[in-house]
């Protein structure tokens, strides 16, 4: 992909040819049809999510038979799920687990990414190959030994255990991305700083690291969505309901409250909301990461 035009900066004014075409009635019709198609497809994508939110806002006795748009909006299901079902515990667990994993992953991946991109050292290529070979690894291949290992360490059922496992699971992809970002930084900046008498530590900390912030943001958003949404290891490694993160907790609710749809959908909405917001806010870093990860490999 040796292309020239970045996705974000297209020429502002359309070329004259395109402007002339805009008045062509065929083009107008095409534009209308395009919007119609996009509206229908988008409705298919978000319709089920709208249904989930609407169900969480309706009185329980209308969940099965009332009109799709509730006549009366109420937030009592959220209060019930948050306080009575103690979803707040699982929500906070997820915040803690995700936050700690992010910190560990970013530190480990930034250091290693910098080394793999910019420091010449023995066995560099071998180590890079070995660590990134985990990218293809299916999670289930390590599940049972990781369970036994945490049992040995006394970390089974603890959030620290899950944090360590998640960090290991995300570090290969993260350092791969960080290496890509560090490699793309122009070397002239480091050279100039070196001529000004900056030490290697200062070059890394003051020059390269600030420039790599977009890369760190990308690593953060990927790891955040991955960890917040993980189910297999969360279910297997933490069994105490109050200690679980929010995904297995939401899944466990359906057994007990299978008919209380407003409470269930309220819990589901609460567990989905942070990542929806995160994605909408950080989507440009997300797209940048997809480009770096998928287009360049």
């Amino acid at each position: 992909m040796t292309t020239t035009v970045d996705a974000g900066v297209r020429p502002l004014a359309p070329p004259p040819v395109a402007r002339g075409r805009r008045r062509d009635p065929g083009a107008v019709l095409r534009r209308v049809l395009w919007h119609a198609a996009m509206v229908v497809i988008s409705a298919g994508a978000i319709g089920p999510l709208v249904w989930m939110v609407l169900t969480s806002l309706r009185p329980q006795n209308t969940a099965f038979s009332g009109p799709l748009i509730p006549e009366k909006i109420q937030f009592s299901a959220y209060v019930f799920a948050w306080n009575e079902l103690e979803i707040w515990r699982n929500f906070l667990n997820s915040v803690l687990i995700t936050g700690a994993t992010l910190v560990f992953t970013i530190v480990a991946a930034t250091l290693a990414g910098y080394a793999f991109a910019r420091i010449g050292f023995t066995a560099r290529n071998l180590l890079f190959f070995v660590i990134t070979s985990a990218l293809f690894l299916p999670g289930v291949a390590t599940l049972i030994p990781v369970y036994l290992e945490l049992q040995t360490f006394g970390l089974l059922g603890s959030q620290l255990g899950l944090i360590l496992v998640y960090t290991a699971g995300g570090v290969s992809f993260s350092l791969f991305l960080m290496r890509t970002f560090f490699e793309a930084l122009p070397n002239e900046l480091a050279e100039a700083a070196r001529l000004d008498g900056a030490s290697e530590v200062q070059i890394f900390w003051r020059v390269m690291l600030p420039l790599a912030m977009p890369g760190i943001a990308t690593v953060a958003i990927f790891q955040m969505i991955g960890v917040w949404n993980e189910l297999l290891f969360a279910s297997a490694l933490i069994s105490e309901p109050g200690d679980q993160p929010i995904q297995p907790a939401a899944n466990a609710l359906i057994g007990q409250y299978s008919t209380n749809w407003p409470a269930l959908t309220a819990a589901m909405t609460l567990s989905a909301l942070p990542m929806v917001i995160a994605y909408v806010v950080f989507q440009r870093w997300f797209v940048a990461g997809l480009t770096a990860g998928a287009v360049k490999t």
Binding site: M1, T2, V5, D6, A7, G8, V9, R31, W34, M38, I41, A45, M52, A63, F64, A109, L111, A112, A115, F116, A117, R118, G120, F121, V130, F136, P138, G139, V140, A141, T142, L143, I144, P145, L148, E149, L164, T167, A168, S172, A184, A190, E200, I203, P214, G215, L231, S235, A236, Q247, I254, W261, M268, M275, Y279, V287, A288, T291, V295, K296
Partner: protein, 315 residues
């Protein structure tokens, strides 16, 4: 995105090995920078993988210990109808989702990209939203929606006069897997669409412009210009889908718990059932579960190598 432009714009950087060191630092510092990542990798990835191989050769003695049993677990596998079923489910799921997900996502990206950019970004965001939702919530949401009598899917079918088509989608061994596949398409297509859309933004508009000058229509342009340029990205998306498919767990677990009658049991849900599930009668089958994990590991490894060689071979 301007500040990221270098990473997406530069020609392929030289391989790390052939590049001269860019800092005054050398081996001791370089290695120490890698140590934290390496430690996580060794303790929670490399060692567990090795131990999975070892555990797959052991059996439980029933008193909390294990003994070496050679290839016994692999022999059991061949005559275990549930394993065979789970293998078939996993392969069918992988092949079908890979084909549909890649094709749909590419078509959708081309469609989104064909419109004005401002609107395209809005639709792109909406189409991606399901992929920001966890598979757990996705599974729960559709499980409620597909409930036989009160579920919104069957209610909508009845409302539009298609009451004859209502069905216990997740309760029938014939429809449970296709239903899960459709739900997975709903959830994940937006992600792969976004990958293709990002790549489309990197194509030089001059190329398409010159094709149009030569009289190529939109379909011709997509087939002869865009898709060949996107080929490396298509290959990455196929690889991601294959790897995701081989380890599929969440939807099958949340929507149907691998049932009914193991009709949606994947290799991962079966391993989970054998190891942590309650229906194994108390004795966890760590050995047998590990053997199945080894199979998933090997199949994923071989698939990765094959796809990688395929890419190299055509480059």
């Amino acid at each position: 995105m301007a500040s990221l432009a270098p990473s997406t714009r530069t020609a392929a950087p030289p391989r790390p090995g052939r590049r001269r060191p860019l800092t005054g630092w050398s081996t001791p510092t370089g290695l120490s920078f890698v140590v934290p990542a390496l430690a996580f990798f060794v303790v929670f990835i490399a060692y567990p993988v090795a131990r999975t191989f070892y555990l797959s050769l052991t059996r439980s003695d029933g008193f909390g210990g294990t003994y070496f049993a050679g290839l016994h677990n692999y022999g059991v596998m061949l005559t275990d109808p549930t394993f065979v079923q789970a293998a078939v489910v996993t392969v069918v799921y992988t092949v079908v989702t890979t084909v549909l997900q890649t094709g749909l996502a590419l078509g959708l990206a081309l469609l989104v990209n064909a419109g004005p950019r401002r609107s395209a970004v809005v639709y792109r965001t909406l189409l991606f939203l399901p992929a920001a939702i966890s598979l757990t919530v996705t599974g729960l949401l559709w499980r409620l929606g597909l409930t036989p009598v009160f579920g919104v899917v069957n209610r909508l079918l009845t409302d539009v006069g298609l009451g004859a088509l209502t069905h216990p989608w997740l309760g029938d061994t014939a429809t449970v897997l296709p239903t899960i596949i459709v739900v997975s398409l709903w959830q994940a297509t937006g992600l792969f669409m976004l990958i293709f859309y990002a790549a489309l933004g990197n194509i030089d508009p001059a190329i398409a412009e010159s094709a149009r000058m030569d009289g190529a229509g939109p379909l011709r342009e997509a087939w002869s210009i865009t898709i060949p340029i996107l080929r490396p990205v298509i290959e990455v998306v196929v690889m991601l889908n294959v790897l995701n498919g081989l380890k599929v767990f969440d939807l099958n677990f949340v929507m149907a718990n691998g049932g009914p009658l193991h009709a949606s049991e994947s290799l991962s849900t079966y391993t989970y059932l054998l190891t942590f599930g309650s229906s194994t009668g108390g004795v966890s089958s760590f050995g047998y579960g590990s053997a199945i994990s080894v199979v998933v590991f090997l199949v994923a490894g071989v698939a990765t190598l094959l796809l990688y060689r395929f890419r190299k071979g055509d480059a």
